[in-house]
């Protein structure tokens, strides 16, 4: 009986956090944001991704047979959590979690080749999954022959990627080259400058390969993505609380640190009391993904939806604890605020995730 992290997992966590503190301090995130404001079509920061590859983070979910580390989703969730904590601008969600999970579930020779390339971090694969759960603006992809047509919204980690993984409906999965003819990718900037989202317009885009009967691959991919995204949000919340507590100890008003006022103390207490149980839910959801697959979908829905609700409260409360200062660009708190605000809807909004959770249990209309 051991509900917690192994020694290896703690080491992974510490290593990555130390690396990120050193390599991706908040000034680097600011610089990335400023770069994007200047050049909105800029793609992924490949240099940072290469450094993460050196730490083995790009191959966390790639099987050992394809030169990855073949770790569990809980390990990947720890990585996502650390990246959220650092509001690091990386394509980990798509290229480190969703693509590897889809590819290793397919287990085709082509997929194995992709996995090998992903593990090294040299190849980056974006994922366009939004239409699996939310169709807006008449989006949707279809096949005509072996060419892809249509539109996909809010693709993840696609601008500057080498290839894109495209679910076509719920059963087929296509890989296309980012530079393929007929493919127009437009970065869709969100308030969160740390995550790359884009629109794909496909007009007869040739596929590199197409997998049919890929339903379970697509499902597992979405599931893993949701759990990793919940972990990312969790990590961002941890950071906001830590910053609030530190600020409250430091800031003096009326002759005393504001952290000694009961109202401020209680705001911080409520934040942490709401957040700590979420950690357990995210861990359990990740554990289920590998060990108890029947339970995993429900846990993933709840972890992402509930984590998002808690995060919205924390983002607002942390900003209030910081007062006017928290509202300035300089104080940087808003990077986490915006990260969780965007995460909230990326792989399903809380309301629809809860409706999904109810459907999984045959509750409902």
């Amino acid at each position: 009986m051991d509900f917690g992290l192994s020694e290896d997992q703690r080491l992974l966590d510490e290593t990555l956090r130390a690396f990120l503190a050193d390599r991706v301090p908040i000034d680097v995130v600011r610089a990335e944001r400023d770069r994007l404001l200047e050049a909105p079509e800029t793609g992924i920061d490949r240099a940072l991704w290469a450094r993460l590859a050196e730490l083995g983070m790009t191959g966390v979910l790639v099987p050992e047979e394809q030169d990855g580390s073949g770790l569990s989703l809980l390990d990947a969730a720890l990585v996502a959590q650390a990246l959220g904590h650092a509001v690091a601008p990386t394509p980990f969600l798509a290229s480190g979690v969703m693509a590897p999970v889809a590819l290793r579930t397919l287990a085709t020779p082509e997929a194995e080749g992709e996995l090998r390339a992903l593990a090294t971090g040299e190849r980056i694969v974006g994922v366009a999954a939004t239409e699996l759960f939310a169709v807006r603006e008449d989006a949707g992809l279809r096949l005509e022959g072996d060419r892809v047509h249509g539109k996909a919204m809010m693709a993840l980690g696609g601008v500057g990627a080498d290839a894109l993984l495209l679910p076509i409906g719920r059963d087929r999965l296509a890989l296309v080259a980012a530079e393929a003819p007929g493919l127009t990718q437009t970065r869709l900037a969100t308030v969160d400058a740390t995550r790359c989202t884009s629109e794909l317009l496909c007009e007869g885009v040739p596929v590199l390969w197409l997998a049919r009967e890929a339903g379970s691959s697509i499902e597992r991919m979405l599931l893993a993505g949701r759990i990793a995204l919940a972990a990312d949000t969790f990590g961002a919340c941890e950071a906001m609380i830590a910053r609030s507590v530190a600020y409250a100890a430091d800031r003096t008003q009326f002759g005393r640190p504001i952290g000694s006022f009961q109202a401020v103390k209680h705001m911080c207490a409520e934040m942490i009391a709401d957040l700590e149980p979420v950690r357990s839910l995210v861990w359990y959801a990740a554990h289920c993904f590998d060990a108890l697959p029947d339970e995993a979908p429900l846990m993933a829905h709840h972890a992402l939806a509930h984590g998002a609700e808690v995060a919205r409260e924390i983002a607002s409360t942390a900003t209030q604890v910081h007062g006017g200062v928290g509202w300035t660009d300089e104080q940087n708190l808003h990077f986490w605020f915006k990260r969780v605000a965007t995460n909230r809807h990326l792989l399903g909004s809380p309301t629809s995730l809860r409706e999904g959770a109810a459907a999984l249990q045959d509750f409902g209309a």
Binding site: E309, F363, A365
Partner: protein, 394 residues
């Protein structure tokens, strides 16, 4: 992460299960006091109760093992019977005696308490001393070899069914607030001691009964002090430390009942579960319930590994109480007009259970340190935030 218990523990679980199949009595609620004691005694003989208490004080004498405790609790729970007895003697007095009692006190009280032959109530709270317990005013004045106790206690649950009370009383009138308190054992049938039932807002809906206890020069021998005179505050606090952090909550069971209610209860021909708004609330509550369920597993792991849980160890009560209250609130909403029915009214749902649940959950938010005090503790002890400055003398 490994959620299995392992072979050794699976074997232990089998043992407990076999014991229960062989020995579990019928309806304990209707059993005589003797039958109940006999059942407790049998549990002690097999090591399923008083497990870690030394044999010389009437226990089984095993080494502490948290997983054994969990497994026994789970199996007794599954069998639908209580392990031991849930009163405050075994949970609060006995650990205190083991740590601070004299040899005579231990030999005299621990065995009978564990066997259910002596029932205890707790005399801590007073009408004027709630969150600020140390401001208690019940006094014990030395009189020869005795103390004479005068004052009033409140919230003494089961005082009407107890033989003995362990109480905090002020023995040192001139000492500072925290240093003047002693921990005293008081026979409930002492002359001058009167127990009066205390009605709560839940009326007769509640499972437990509270009382007020009035002391008018109640005489108790000095030898009934546990630990040293004037150290009662410290002693009571070390006991609270012993209280096993509630590792399991009944939130999952409550949620299951709520989900069932929502399938059963219909309005205008539509079951509540088919209302998207109610269903959304049910799902929100399920997520919170699951969070607390796995949070408890995480805390259990910390306890097993003897790792300090940090701030995570301080938040369960606050969250569980609010969750419990919110689940009752949804249940009451779903039942609508009929949810307020009470007192055996026709159409009353589940005997007014959800009304009681709502009020008791609110009571729990208040009791045992209000939510406000808990938030102070989380912030100061858990997050290391600065204490409030002491007020200047007026």
């Amino acid at each position: 992460m490994d959620l299995e218990y392992g072979a050794e523990y699976d074997a232990f679980r089998e043992e407990v299960r076999a014991f229960l199949e062989a020995h579990k009595p019928g309806n304990l609620a209707e059993a005589s006091a003797e039958d109940r004691s006999a059942w407790l005694t049998k549990q002690i003989e097999h090591g399923y109760w008083a497990r870690t208490i030394p044999t010389e004080y009437g226990g089984y004498g095993a080494e502490p093992n948290l997983l054994h405790t969990i497994i026994m609790d789970e199996e007794f729970n599954r069998a639908g019977t209580l392990r031991g007895t849930p009163s405050q003697g075994p949970s609060m007095l006995v650990p205190t005696l083991l740590e601070h009692g004299t040899e005579e006190q231990k030999r005299r009280w621990i065995g009978p308490t564990m066997r259910g032959e002596v029932i205890w109530c707790q005399g801590y709270s007073e009408p004027g001393a709630g969150s600020d317990l140390a401001s208690l005013q019940t006094r014990a004045v030395a009189d020869g070899d005795d103390f004479l106790i005068s004052g009033q206690k409140i919230w003494t649950s089961t005082a009407d069914k107890s033989q003995m009370m362990f109480a905090l009383v002020r023995t040192e009138a001139d000492a500072p607030k925290h240093a003047g308190i002693s921990y005293l054992l008081v026979p409930v049938d002492s002359p001058g001691l009167e127990v009066r039932p205390l009605r709560t807002m839940a009326g007769d809906l509640g499972p437990s009964s509270f009382n007020q206890v009035f002391f008018d020069e109640v005489r108790v021998p000095r030898s009934n002090v546990v630990g040293r005179r004037g150290e009662g505050w410290k002693i009571a606090n070390t006991t609270l430390k012993h209280e096993r952090n509630s590792l399991s909550s009944n939130a999952e069971g409550t949620w299951m009942r709520l989900a069932k209610l929502m399938r059963d209860e219909t309005m205008n021909g539509v079951p509540a579960i088919a209302s998207p708004v109610y269903r959304d609330r049910l799902m929100q509550l399920q997520a919170r319930m699951l969070s607390m369920k796995y949070h408890a597993l995480r805390m259990l792991t910390c306890a097993l590994k003897e790792e300090p849980p940090g701030v995570a160890g301080l938040v369960a009560k606050l969250e569980n109480c609010q969750l419990s209250f919110d689940m009752a609130a949804l249940a009451l909403d779903v039942m609508g007009e009929l949810g307020a029915l009470y007192d055996h009214a026709k159409y009353e749902r589940a005997r007014g259970h959800w009304q009681a649940h709502s009020m008791f959950a609110l009571g729990l938010i208040i009791g045992g340190g209000t939510a406000q005090i808990q938030k102070n503790i989380i912030a100061e002890r858990g997050l290391g935030m600065p204490r409030e400055p002491k007020p200047a003398k007026a």
